[in-house]
């Protein structure tokens, strides 16, 4: 898969995440009741863990998804590396929040779980993008027709342009 396609996929999932975070932010500030099949959304959203330093976690989610989206506006390794860094922070914090739901609040918010799934997919996509932009084929990449290349992106030994002894 090319970097361009990966950027498009990241942008797509970042927009999906933005949708979830926007809905939770709207519900937070408007007082609207969340659509919830699990029955725990209100409990989670009104728990003391739903706010960090006065900032609702939903707003932090908005910022994270915007950051993911921002990294897709640029091509190259630096933007790809920035995407991986955002993913690392997002995965760590999402995991913490999931554990809080399960172990401390004893309620599960379907919107938060959906956000966790999106973050996990984004983490995989940003990692793949970084590998591709670094010239390394990601593990699940489909071989493409063209000049033979080694896994590290350099031409194999003996081919034209190879390092001479």
């Amino acid at each position: 898969m090319t970097e361009g396609r990966l950027r498009s996929a990241i942008a797509l999932f970042a927009v999906a995440g933005l949708g979830i975070a926007s809905y939770l932010t709207y519900a937070r500030y408007s007082g609207a009741q969340l659509l919830c099949a699990t029955g725990g959304c209100e409990t989670v959203q009104h728990s003391r863990y739903a706010v960090v330093a006065g900032i609702p976690v939903a707003v932090l989610g908005l910022v994270a998804y915007l950051a993911f989206l921002g990294t897709t506006a640029f091509r190259g390794q630096t933007a790809a590396a920035a995407g991986v860094c955002v993913a690392v922070a997002a995965v760590l914090f999402s995991t913490y929040l999931l554990l809080v739901q399960l172990l401390l609040v004893h309620a599960l918010c379907q919107w938060c779980v959906a956000g966790d799934v999106v973050v996990t997919i984004l983490a995989a996509l940003t990692a793949a993008r970084f590998l591709v932009s670094s010239g390394v084929e990601p593990p699940l990449a489909i071989p493409r027709a063209g000049p033979a290349r080694s896994r590290n992106g350099r031409a194999p030994r003996g081919s034209a342009g190879g390092a001479s002894a």
Partner: protein, 272 residues
């Protein structure tokens, strides 16, 4: 001394363009495998960024943990932990506790200064919540009355304000558990603030602001009017009504607060 065959002199390098000096690292040492610098720089950037990301996530988690533990609920309040566990994860909407699709509804008319209402809240309600509300079979609605005295109205206003944040049952339970002597001024701002601080997600300033709002006045009047209609002008608490969701409610006659006074009617309506 003859140079080794694999090495080239500086002159050779200058005269023969096919001979290149080995790449050098920033510290001046030769790169033995001839790797380009670009991937190394990218990995360094990634590592540095990852460290920053881990630190950012760690700070967020630390602030979250610290904030959850050092809230204004630092002073222990009787029943707070049990109440939190009892109601945790059960949906609330206004003064209604339980899932919206529950087939049976139980209504309680209560005064927060009424000692029998307290006994119901402390001794009977937890079993009903555990066996009927948490399982999605029954919704309970609290209709608050304030006919015992000034503390009744003050407590009811706080509960009604918590209802606007869908946390009425948490505050209701804590006020019942910490109930004081009738009209002794036990419903102080301090008690309300302390109880509210033990309710996850309850905005305390908003609670106090809403307690004296016109909307709260209107809801309290409505509950009183419904009580007069249902009890024929003779108010007494606690009074219970029960019925299938969406159908007229019937008075539930009880002779004690034993849970067995409630479960047969609930089971019958549930078809058990």
């Amino acid at each position: 001394m003859e140079p080794t065959p694999s090495r080239h002199s500086v002159v050779d390098m200058a005269t023969n363009p096919s001979i290149r000096a080995p790449r050098r690292r920033p510290n001046g040492s030769a790169d033995p495998v001839g790797r380009s610098r670009r991937p190394l720089t990218a990995i360094q950037t990634l590592l540095a960024g990852t460290v920053v990301a881990v630190v950012v996530a760690g700070i967020l988690i630390g602030v979250s943990v610290a904030g959850s533990g050092s809230g204004s609920a630092s002073k222990p309040l009787a029943g707070a932990e049990f109440s939190s566990l009892l109601l945790s994860g059960i949906p609330q909407h206004g003064t209604v506790l339980g899932q919206s699709g529950a087939p049976v509804r139980l209504v309680e008319y209560g005064d927060l200064q009424c000692p029998i209402c307290r006994a119901f809240a402390v001794d009977t309600l937890p079993t009903i919540i555990r066996d009927y509300v948490r399982t999605g079979s029954v919704q309970i609605e609290f209709r608050g009355l304030a006919f015992i005295g000034g503390d009744s109205e003050k407590a009811l206003r706080a509960v009604d304000a918590a209802a606007a944040q869908n946390r009425a049952w948490n505050l209701l339970d804590l006020l019942y558990v910490n109930q004081g002597r009738e009209n002794s001024g036990w419903v102080s701002d301090s008690l309300i603030r302390s109880a509210a601080a033990h309710v996850d997600g309850l905005d305390v300033p908003k609670l106090f602001a809403a307690g004296s709002s016109a909307a709260t006045d209107a809801r309290i009047r409505t509950a009183a009017a419904l009580a007069r209609r249902d009890m024929g002008g003779r108010l007494q608490t606690p009074t219970f009504e029960v019925g299938r969701a969406g159908q007229p409610l019937q008075p539930l006659q009880i002779t004690s607060l034993d849970v067995n006074q409630f479960t047969p009617a609930l089971d019958r309506l549930l078809g058990r």
